[in-house]
Symmetry: C2
Subunit: 204 residues, 2 copies
DNA sequence: CGATTTAAAGACCAATTGGTCTATATATCG
DNA sequence: CGATATATAGACCAATTGGTCTTTAAATCG
């Protein structure tokens, strides 16, 4: 028996903008420009909010950034949960996972980069809130990849001597490195071949 | 018969500070804080120069940054030239190369990060001068690693099916990814084992 | 309606930004 | 010495920074 929401229903003019959409637009700005290079006017333009509304809704620039980062991380983990779904064939899942990174690392997307990697480099060392999120993301990603590799091993699809947890760490470093190298817009075909070559070292 | 330097010897008070040392100190600041987060007073404090001297010697913040970046790149390439010296055994060279990255990715060094990766993420997409330097560095690194792998292959030290140029691209992505993951200060022993596991997939 | 709440617009703020310029001291030359 | 060149210290600048606050309009309620 689910209760109706117990909060007092608000009495005045209701909120007229979509907070999540605003976070998403702000995320886009931080993603393209980085934290320090993003100025308030950029965020106001992107969210189409007034200064007052933005500060009322999010507190300050840093809090809004954390919301945007959380959104980015959640999106990435959701994507991985689809690609590496335990009901799929694990090697196919790993291929999809790598192909996704190759895709995001090529051309304009590649040049735009990755909010997570950029944030790791720009803030993770100095900002504890950010640092915890970045570390948590890498851990979560590694766990998912390791799990997929484990299932591949169970299905006897892994090459001799490949240990899932170790190979997972290799793959995590590799894909994050892809995001770095992708800033110089290498050719898609090259990246895809590189990713394939790495995975081929792991599978039977 | 080498001529004396043909430039007019300067007539006034000679420069009394070491330009290269100033670049190196500035590099340290950019390295620790990133480009946008570095303010002029930070650079003046680090270089112990007055505003006037700094602008006279380097033009502006951006030019000084490029000098610092060039210095960082030159140092990195010099290091690689030693580690991957053709007169050394190539696999030992590759081990030294990876061990160097593991070392720089652990603990305080790891948390400080890598000026090159941070710059790639912060500026490479928007700043053409920076973009060219980053792309050039990755290309130079890849060439050196590929060369070492080629020599290893000639010495029949490579596992079956390992292609030097492809494996070099994998290693470049891997080490740059290490620098990203290193921002969350993972354990040295884990990173070393991960690097070893990767290299072991390539050698016979 | 009137009370309440939120929105947008923009004035306003102190602090900081990158950068210029002046004054003055100092070091080297012929 | 006098000319030349460079150093430092710091005043100064317009523009921008993140952030607050006030005003006014709109939207919902009882």
């Amino acid at each position: 028996m689910s209760r109706q929401t117990p909060v007092q229903l608000p009495r005045g003019r209701p909120r007229s903008f979509d907070v999540d959409a605003a976070v998403e637009r702000a995320m886009g700005v931080f993603w393209s420009r980085g934290y320090h290079a993003t100025a308030l006017p950029d965020l106001l333009r992107a969210t189409k909010l007034s200064r007052g509304s933005l500060y009322a809704a999010f507190g300050d620039k840093h809090s809004l950034f954390l919301r945007a980062l959380d959104r980015y991380i959640a999106d990435a983990l959701t994507r991985m949960d689809i690609e590496l779904d335990p009901r799929r064939e694990p090697v196919a899942g790993l291929r999809a996972y790598l192909a996704g990174y190759v895709d995001r690392t090529t051309g304009a997307k590649g040049r735009r980069g990755c909010l997570l990697v950029a944030t790791a480099m720009e803030l993770a060392g100095q900002d504890a809130e950010v640092g915890r999120r970045i570390a948590g993301f890498f851990k979560a990603m590694e766990a998912r990849v390791a799990d997929a590799l484990s299932r591949a091993k169970t299905a006897d699809k892994l090459a001799d001597g490949v240990e899932p947890s170790s190979a997972a760490r290799i793959l995590v470093c590799f894909v994050e490195g892809l995001r770095v190298v992708g800033k110089t817009a290498p050719r898609r075909i090259t990246l895809q071949a590189t990713a394939d070559a790495l995975l081929d070292r792991f599978i039977r």
